[in-house]
Amino acid sequence: MDNCTYEKLDISGLDAWFGDKQALKGVSLRIKPKTVTAVIGPSGCGKSTFIRCINRMHELTPGNRVSGVVLLDGVDIYKSVDSMDVRRKVGMVFQKPNPFPNMSVSDNVVAGLKLIGAASKKELEAVAEENLKAVGLWKEVENDLKKSGASLSGGQQQRLCIARALAMRPEIILMDEPTSALDPASTAKIEDLVKTLKAETTVIIITHNVQQAARISDMTAFFYLGELIEYGETRTIFESPKSPLTERYITGRFG
């Protein structure tokens, strides 16, 4: 990781607004490929807004605005790429598991691929199996592939959503507090999964749980009031944070 000079994501001067309210202020950071970056900070500090700028979801609401530069593999995703193409390359897993209830388990996995419409039925089945295996769900749902995605348990649903994002072979996967709605056992499974994901892709994960950040991430970014206060290797951030704000947050002494 240290000797890799190539940047997967290069963000500079990123500002974001909800109407008149500025939620992100001049955020700049670089993320190396095949790493897990944890985004931490108190509620309302702009974590969700930040990752939603990386897959161009922020601009969906009329009145919202983004400025600054986001380079994905050196290409400006706001200038040179269509927003739909950005979202195919940058997958997202949400806080609340959101499998499509009108689709079967396997159709959920390939929902994104079906939009492109290139693959045959056989290929789609193979992709579904491969990605369900990748998230450790295959054994559990093997016999229920035709059941509704909503029939699974919460933890299974969230892994299904990860499989759905993985099936697109994304360059980056964004996760917005993916375990906050789950029980401890399901949380542990997803944490393990995140650690394996970086073999294939680059993960940016928001968590409100600093221990979780310490457990699963290589890099940590601490946000406060819309600004990136500190960013660096997770061990450094946790052992010797530069900013007193960071220190107060990770030691749980935040007001």
Binding site: N55, M57, L60, P62, M84, D85, R87, R88, G91, M92, F94, K96, N98, P99, F100, P101, N102, A111, G112, L115, I116, K146, K147, S148, C161, R164, A165, M168
Partner: protein
Amino acid sequence: MQGKKSSSHYNRQDAVFKYLLISASLLVVGLFAALFLMLIRGSLPSILGNGLGFLTGTTWDPINGIYGALPAILTTIVTSLLAVGIAIPVALGIAIFFTEYAPVKAKFPLTVFIDLLAAIPSVIFGIWGLWIIAPLIKTYVQQPLVTSIGFIPIFGGPAYGISLSLASLILAIMVIPIIASLAIELLSRTPITLKEGMISLGATKWESVMRVGLPFARMGVIAAVMLGLGRALGETMAITMVIGNSYMWPFANPSIFAPATSITSKIASEFYEATSAIYAGSLIELALTLLIITLATNVAFRYIINKTNKEAKR
């Protein structure tokens, strides 16, 4: 003690309400049964006099005592289905535009417009259809179609203006606001998490509506279509004014540009002339038939909704 007193007080109140509600429900059932029996009783002269020939006969000739209802029955079913067929895509289009694409400022005026459309008395649609739309549709739609593809019997000439197809069109316009306003209600309740899930996979807004929005709303949309179909089946005034009141369709002239007669328009235009018992009875049997068609549609839709429900739960 206090608690006991008040709880028995509530129990008594509950009991009173319960009986009130039961009697109200019984009243509805009773009214319906009375209506049904009244229709059967009124139809007796026709049921006994015309027999099954009433349902299969194609001629309606009161002077010679021949009462065949098939053209009216078919007209009612076909105009209503055509109307709903036209209305569904338009209404869903309106609803999708409203929920996904319309600027916030346009939403309120649009709602008002749709509600107004639903509130227009049907006689006004009738006048409008007869005076404005009939001549327009005759010159610009029917005649060109008759000259180009008129060799196909259902598009055959001559173009009359007032016709089965005009009736369907006017009915469609009356049904559109019913389906559209319900579909708007339903689509705007699509959970944002589902929409975002679809969008995050690279879907356009349109794809997101098609793949999660409409499927999420489908049960309600089916119910809305049922309401629309019910409205179309029972509509009388506008239809009577624009359908042309001819018994030619479909046996003498199968063209959708030919005038026709629906069950409702037949009853409305002839009830006061029906002097003999069998004539009046025949018109009442028409009404009974319409009621049965409406009930059958309802049952069919219930079946569809139950089935979709079960599939969704699987």
